[in-house]
């Protein structure tokens, strides 16, 4: 599902974001990327999302070489990926329902189906009763769950998360991780960037450890 072939990313200011990265995450797999802040976790996710382009090497997503992807094709790549952010990236002038519906509206899902699928996604994150509220009136954990519902509502084949438990207490963090495991159980490939080592260690998944842009450890 995700394949990095000798991928490097050097920023114009000389900072080496990633250095000769080589790995493969198979379809249906769940994996963590870990490392200190600045180790390149976010850069790696940005390359997968085509928010940035590698300086060297090739990134393949779902068999597609991103190098061959023109800027007009990027939206269609992103529609097959769900993303969860530490800062949620919710739209605060729209209701929970409208936030979650956004990916469906964008890919042109028929109206009658939008309502059904948004409610299914909200049900999954246990926020069905809050669909008409605005994100501002939700707690941090609830906002994060709205973000997750939005990431999975269009049933992406690949789910990415960047520090999804960053601001949450351990109990809530564990709850969020359980959600990701649930999605993985039904076949979604999941890749999570996190530096919450104690939490990751308790979960039995593959772990890619980055240090200063290099892959220093790959295993469970």
């Amino acid at each position: 599902m995700i394949r990095f072939d000798q991928v490097s990313k050097r920023y114009p200011n000389g900072h080496q974001g990633l250095d000769n990265l080589d790995f493969h995450i198979r379809t249906g797999e769940m994996a963590f990327i870990t490392g200190h802040s600045g180790a390149g976790k976010s850069t790696l996710l940005k390359l997968v999302m085509c928010m940035e382009r590698p300086s060297a090497g090739r990134v393949h997503i779902g068999g597609q070489d991103l190098h061959e992807l023109g800027s007009d094709d990027i939206p269609y790549l992103r529609r097959q990926i769900g993303v969860v952010f530490q800062n949620h990236q919710l739209l605060f002038d729209r209701t929970v329902f409208d936030n979650v519906a956004l990916p469906l509206i964008i890919n042109g899902t028929p109206r009658d189906e939008v309502g059904r699928r948004v409610r299914a996604a909200l049900d999954k994150v246990d926020l069905l009763k809050k669909e008409n509220l605005f994100p501002i009136s939700l707690s941090g954990g609830e906002q994060q769950r709205v973000g997750i519902a939005r990431a999975v509502v269009h049933k992406p084949a690949l789910l990415l998360a960047d520090e999804p438990t960053g601001n949450l207490d351990p109990a809530l963090s564990a709850e969020i991780m359980t959600l990701f495991e649930d999605f993985n159980r039904v076949g979604v490939t999941v890749l999570i960037a996190s530096h919450d080592l104690p939490l990751i260690a308790r979960l039995d998944h593959r772990m890619l450890t980055l240090h200063e842009g290099r892959l220093v450890r790959d295993g469970e």
Binding site: M1, F23, H24, R26, T27, G28, E29, M30, M49, M51, I61, G62, G63, Q64, E68, L69, G70, D72, D73, P75, Y76, L77, R78, R79, Q80, V83, Q89, L90, L91, D93, L102, P103, I105, I106, N107, G108, T109, P110, R111, E113, R150, H154, K155, P156, A157, N184, R185, V186, G187, D204, H205, R206, D218, G219, E220
Partner: protein, 347 residues
Amino acid sequence: MAENKRNPAAPRKRQSADTPVKKNPAPKAPKGAARSQRNWRHPLRSWLGSHRDSAQQALQRLRRHPLSSAMTILVMTIVLALPTGLAVLIGQVERLGVDWQRAAQLSVYLQETVDGPVAEQLRDSIAALDEVDEVQLLDKALALAEFQQHSGMGDALEQLSYNPLPAVILVTPNSIEGGASALQPLRDRIAAMSGVELVQIDLLWIERLTSILAMLERFTGGLAVLLIFALLLVMTTTIRLAIESRREEIQVIKLVGGTDAFVRRPFLYIGMVYGLLAGLLAWLLLAGGIAWLNTTVRQVAALYESGFELLPMPAGDGLLLVAGAVLLGLLGAWLAVGRHIRDIEPQ
């Protein structure tokens, strides 16, 4: 490379393992989930739905920012109404000029001694010319009577022992196209006839009026170009501000796979809605303005014994104005979103 052992077979109805991301897939046709294939049957419906959403967003913006929207629309209205109003006025005065032109004549003054049968003979030979439509002879007595009636100098003339006025033949040409210069050959031929003292072309001052109107028209054209430019600037600035105020939203939309066209659409609708409202307001303003001016125009025209008045703006012109305003709004919005939206990328 460790495989996930927990989940050997995905039970979902997803397509085969590594579904390739096709290059340039058709819009509104997401792959991945089998259920989404239903969308293939509704591309038009979902496209229309997206347009309806965008139009609704544009109206929503009007409701949320009534004051700034009203300001923009009013500026656009004035900018539209100014050159259109001038053009309408010039058109009306031109209509007056055309009326006068239709009455254009050559005045053939005969020598003082020519009158009676000789004058009639001259009249007939002029009438026989190809370029001549109509002739009318005012013999000396008639000329005197008319002069007395119109000049208010009847008393002075009565003091004279003789009639100083020559007989006049009024010649209406077939065609006045080409103006005074085109009438020159006819004038020369008549002037060469014996018994003719002077031939005057009454078209000249109408030509002057026409050329003044042409100058005003050109001025209005230049003004219109400038004002259209101003209108586009107003529009692009407004749309740019609207885009900036929604920068985060645009980033999120792009992050979840919104195309540039999807992001652009609501802003283009804002441009069109502003243009539509400004066009309608400008039409209203012009209609009101013409009615308001007309009361004084009628008074002035009455003083000149003319029934002239300004005609209301034809509905066709009004619709054209509104259509033009919508197009300009769209164009202004298009100029604003062009590069700007492309440049806003998720961070």
